[in-house]
Every structure is written in C-alpha cells, then in structure tokens.
C-alpha cells in the first residue's frame, strides 16, 4: 500500500501544471472560476490548444490520434485542470462517441469521423433521452425506418446538452417496434443540417441555455451512418454510458469548489469575524472536507483497478452517487457563505445585465450554480437508477 504518486506520475503532474500555467487563456480561466457561460468560441479555442499538444482525446489509443493516458494520468489532469479553472473538455465526441466508434464502428467510420472530432470540424451532441424516456431509456420512441439507402427518422430527443453548438448528433433510434424494448434499438449518426432537424432551446432554472430539444421530421439519414449492426444499439449505448459514468465522481471539481468556499468564507464577515471562524459554518465545511478526502482515495482505488484493466461497473455508479452528493453539498455551502448576496440573479442571457450585479465576495453566481448542479444527481442515469444498479449487482449477481 502506497498512497503517493510515482516519480513518473509526479513528473507528469508537473508537466500538466506548467502547460496549464502557460497555455490556458486567462480570460477563459476567469470565466470558469466565476461560473460564467463559456461561448462556443471559448470551448473551441481550448480544444484547439489541447489538440496542438496531443492531449485532447486523452483516453483514445495513439493509433486514433489519442493521448492514451492511463486512468491515473487522466485523474492527474482532471485534478490540475479543475484547480487551474480550465474548461472541461466537451465530452460527447471524445469520451462518448469516440470509444464507441473505436470499438464498434467500421474502418470507414473511424477514418472519417475521428480526425474531424480532433480538429474541431464536427461538434457532437448526444440524442438519448426523450420526453417519455428518461430513466427508462429503453422505452425510447424516435423511429428510423429503412427506405433504400436511407433511414427516415421521426421523433424527439430532449436534454441535448450544447446541441445549439453541434452540427452532428449520435442518436438511439427504434428500428424494430416488434422486438423486445432493448432489442429494437439502433445507433445512428445524424447530420444536424439535414432538412427536418430542428433544435429548440430549453432554458434552465438558473437562466442558462445549455440543453435543448431536438426534433426530427422525416429526416433522411444515409445507411452508412449506422454504427455497428441494426438493432444492436443498446449494447453500444450501455458501453458508452459506462464511459460517461467514469469521471463523474468529479473529485477535482469538488476540491476546487471547496477551495472557493473557504476563500469566500474567509472574506465574508459574520459578527465582526471571518465566517470561516464561525464554529457552525466551519463544522459544515470540515464535514464535507473529511468526506472528500475519503472520496479522493476511493476514486484513486477505483482508478487503480481500471488502470489494471478491470472495467469499472458498480464502482462507477458508486462514484457518481457519492460524487454528486458532495458537489451539491459544496454548492450549498457556497450559497450559504455569500449570505444575502446569494439572491441577485446573474444571467448571461441579457447582454450587459451582469454589470450591475453586486459581488463583493468575488464569488460568482453561486446560488445559480447551486440550482444548476441539481442536475448532477439527475443526468447520466439518476442517482436512483445508480442505486438500483448497485443493489442489483450486489444482491442478485448481475445487472
């Protein structure tokens, strides 16, 4: 048992730190620090900087142009990136579709789509959830009917994150309505410029536009955009969801968030003293920090297992549940720390509207973030779904 990084890992950490210090644009980092809305251009700029260094597709094998980092290396990057307020890498291409194409896609699909992800030609979004198919994803109804060289797609997807920036969407569609739910689903790549695709914004409760509805009306999709075999889409979707869930522990984000809470609570005044010296508030912060320290090690234990080649299954679910609860607790502390200044509504929706929002503690829109991050326990398989998986695996021997 040894909790310290190896000398190679320490050298890697140093390399990442130096890179972030030198290459992460200051204006972008400041936006991330104060939870401002990043523009498409901000995100593309950061992707391009990472790509120039060969660090954009961190989990991909080298043969596909990836960095082929180990799980420990990815963890080191995540921690340092969160600490430096680097934007997260938009995951839909790199963490989700990429691995699916590498495992199940044809050579032509790999050669065509993977380089375009790296150089930013395509911006991908995910077409999974539907209004009637959330936790029960397999009940999805969006239909694709084969018609010669095309599929004709009709239906509606929802919660499509950053769909307003995307030109491509990977979708789960029903290709066989008679088969058992999971057996009639296919995995389709759809060009969003095709006639019949319509993106409608959903404004979230904190005023942010980050998710969308995507509607399909008689959308023609060439058959070569089918990934793998028809009606085998559920297998690929499950594979993708496992990838989506790893890293959802968000230890790096939690650590950065806790640091911010302490900074705010040091600046905030309570009865003539810094709030951080108040025993009740300090106790709340300490409790979260104690949990987070254990969680960081839980995270590393799971990462080590993954690095040794064991697929994270159950543990990914555990990390997601615990990680989301901790991050939400930290958001709650941040909104408490600012006191009455939690109430102003900082919205990027109206140009210039934020100029008058008072922020004497330099905290950013912490209450908005508190509400926005309620999503952490809902998306990517809600915490109830994750608990169901944990119970099923541990008490009946299989998911």
């Amino acid at each position: 048992m040894d909790l310290s990084y190896s000398s190679e890992e320490l050298a890697f950490q140093e390399e990442i730190r130096t890179f972030l210090q030198n290459d992460l644009p200051k204006d972008i980092a400041e936006k991330v620090r104060l939870d401002g809305d990043l523009t498409k251009d901000d995100m593309e700029r950061w992707h391009a900087i990472l790509n120039a260094r060969g660090w954009l597709a961190q989990n991909w094998p080298k043969e596909f142009g990836g960095a082929e980092w180990s799980a420990v290396q990815r963890h080191i990057y995540d921690t340092e990136a969160a600490d430096a307020h680097a934007p997260r890498i938009v995951p839909f291409g790199f963490s989700m579709l990429g691995p699916v194409l590498q495992k199940f896609g044809s050579k032509e699909q790999q050669d065509h789509w993977l380089p375009r992800m790296l150089d930013g030609t395509d911006w991908w979004c995910q077409g999974y959830s539907e209004p009637g198919a959330g936790s029960d994803l397999a009940s999805l109804k969006t239909k694709a009917v084969r018609d010669g060289d095309h599929y004709i797609v009709n239906g509606q997807k929802t919660w499509t994150t950053l769909g307003q920036f995307a030109n491509m969407i990977f979708c789960l569609v029903r290709t066989d309505s008679d088969a058992k739910q999971q057996e009639g689903i296919s995995f389709l790549l759809i060009d969003m410029d095709t006639p019949g695709v319509e993106v409608r914004p959903i404004i979230l409760l904190d005023g942010c536009h980050e998710v969308n509805e995507v509607w399909f009306t008689d959308v023609k999709v060439p058959v070569e955009n089918l990934v793998g075999e028809e009606n085998k889409g559920w297998t690929y979707a499950k594979y993708l969801l496992t990838h989506e869930r790893t890293g959802l522990g968000g230890v790096g984000s939690s650590e950065a968030g806790l640091k911010a809470v302490k900074r705010i609570a040091k600046a905030a005044n309570h009865n003539g003293k810094p709030l951080i010296e108040n025993p009740h508030f300090a106790a709340r912060v300490a409790q979260v920090e104690i949990d987070l320290r254990a969680m960081a090690t839980t995270n590393l234990r799971i990462i080590s297992k993954a690095a040794a080649g064991e697929a994270p299954g159950l543990e990914a679910s555990m990390l997601k549940v615990k990680g989301s609860i901790l991050r939400q607790e930290i958001n709650d502390l941040a909104r408490r720390a600012v006191g009455p200044y939690a109430m102003p509504f900082a919205s990027e929706a109206v140009e210039g509207a934020n100029d008058r929002i008072p922020d004497p503690l330099d905290a950013g829109p912490v209450a908005g973030q508190y509400f926005n991050n309620r999503k952490l326990s809902i998306f990517g398989g809600s915490n109830e779904i994750q608990r169901g998986i944990i119970a099923k695996v541990t008490m009946s021997g299989g998911a």
Partner: protein
Amino acid sequence: MDFNLTEERQMLQDTLRRYLREQYGTERRNEILASDTGFSSDIWAELAELGVLGALFTEDQGGFGGAGFDIAVVFEELGRAGVVEPVLDSALVGGRLLAAAGKADMVEQVIGGAIHLAVAHGEPDSRYDLDHVNTTATDNKLTGRKAVVMNAEAADHLIISAKDGDTIALYLVDKGAQGLDIQGYPLLAGGRAAEVTLDNTPGAPLDLTLTDFEAANRLAIIAQCAEALGAMETATALTKDYLMTRKQFGRPIGTFQALAHRMSDLLIEMEQARSAVINAAGYADDKDADLHLSASKNLIGRIGRLVAEEAIQMHGGIAMTQEYELAHIAKRIVMADHRFGDTDYHLERFIALSAA
C-alpha cells in the same frame, strides 16, 4: 386550544387563494418575472382592493388584522402561488415601521396600495446581523451603502438605518433625494433589489428605535416562514401529482418504493413545517418570542431545502426547466433562507437564547 382559523381569517384565506389561483397562474407569473419592473402594478392594486394589505395592520393602525396569524395566513397563500410582488418588504415591514413611527397618513396610502416602500438596513458586510450599521447620519444627512435592498427602485420612500453617534436610528428618505443612488438588478427568485448608496442624502428622522426595528423584523420572520411553507405545499403537491402520473418502466414512478418512501418523508416533514409556522405566529408576542422565531426559521430553512431538493430530484429533468412551475417555487423556498437570518444564523441565536 383551537387550531382552526377564525371565520375572518378563513375568509381571507379563501378569498386570496381563489384570487391567486385565477389570476396568478404560471403563465401570468412568467410574464411578471420577465418584466422590467419585476412585479405587476395591477396585481398590487388588486391585492390592496381585496384587503390583503390591510390585513397586515391592526385596527389601531387603520387595518383589520395585524396579528401573527393574519400575517401567516396572507403569506402562506402568497407563497403557495409563488407571488413575487413585494408585499413583505413594501407593505409589511415598511408599513409597520411607519405605523410604529406614527405616520398614519402614509400607512393609509400603503394599505390602499398607493405608495411603495423599501427598507434599507443590511450593508455589504453585515450579513444577517441587525446591529451592524456603518452608514452614518450627521445633521440628518446620510452617507453609506446599503446592500440588496428589496423594491428600492419602485419605492416612493425608503426607510434607512444609520448611525448617529453610537445610536442606530431610522430615517425616511424620499425617492429622488439628493445623493441617493439606486443600482437595481433582478433576483434569482423573482422581483428586484438594489445596491443603495447615500452621499450626504437628506433624511427625516423617524421616531423609532432599534427595538421597533426588531419588532418589525419579528413580523418579517413570521411572514417569511409562512411564505416558504406555502411554497413548500405547492412543491410537495406538484411532486405527489408527478409521481402518480409520470410513468417509467411501465408504471407510475410513485409506485417504486424508493420514491414512495421519500414522498412520505416529505409529508411528515411538512407537518413539522406547518407546526413551526403556527409556533412562530402564535408566540409572536410571547416573552420568548425570539427563541420561538429562531426555532421556526431554522426548521423552515432545513425542511425547505429538503423539500426543494427532493421535489426537483423526484421530478427529474423537467423540474430543472425555467418554465415549469416547480423551478420558480423551489427558488422561492431556498432563497427564503437568505433573508432575515439563515438556518445557521437562527441555530446560533437559538443556542444563545436558550442558554440565557
């Protein structure tokens, strides 16, 4: 012992509930939320006409209520409908301060809905402390900064605290007074507030002490607890309906025990919350009023957070959308904890008062 409302209060509740159900639906509220002023003058006039504002004042003050339970009844209904009009700050706290200062004419205008008030007490680093005032008054000229002042832009008059020597005193400052600067902004849970700066701004001293201010603050705590309770009722009702109608895996999600038990827990806690509001209203004039009020505000803060978070979680994504009623209601509930002392503030105060 009688836990029923008096006939008058029952009528007030019925009237207000019916009015808001008919006039303050999600669509109307979303229009108001998106408006520049952050509230509707029409709704304000109608609330005055219905006697809702008058119910916040005693007969001596020209109203027809004014007790803890009158205030609780009104604000529970306002909370239930997610009303963003500044009844709490403009009419209740502002109006009752003027009543205590003997400004009968102005109180009459408040009750009639003719004027708006704002109360500017908190400062950028005062947090929830009532006795932390750095704004100064010299020869009735005020200088300083007031933080997150509700309804400041719409107010015809502001009631502003300032230190004259070592004494905290309250002053009446008119809209447009010299050296008065109001920087307004919208609030996350609806309505508007402002940062108010005063630079040698003339104010008329009000015949009030910090004790009067504390009395008004007690009423504000009752109102805020009741408003949160009303909003929590709506959140639990929406969640219950959703659990019974939303189907996943071929059945209503409320039939899954994992969710059914959590809904049951919410309903249990809601009974606690209701009792806490009754305690706040019922002990408003007790010698231990502050202890009771802190207990209630702390409990409402804790249960409010639980209800808001669980309601969102059990709904799933739909509750995250701005258009859905619960989103607004959840924000009202959680933001109520940022007014007149939060959960931690009142826990500490409860400890201090219990030890005394």
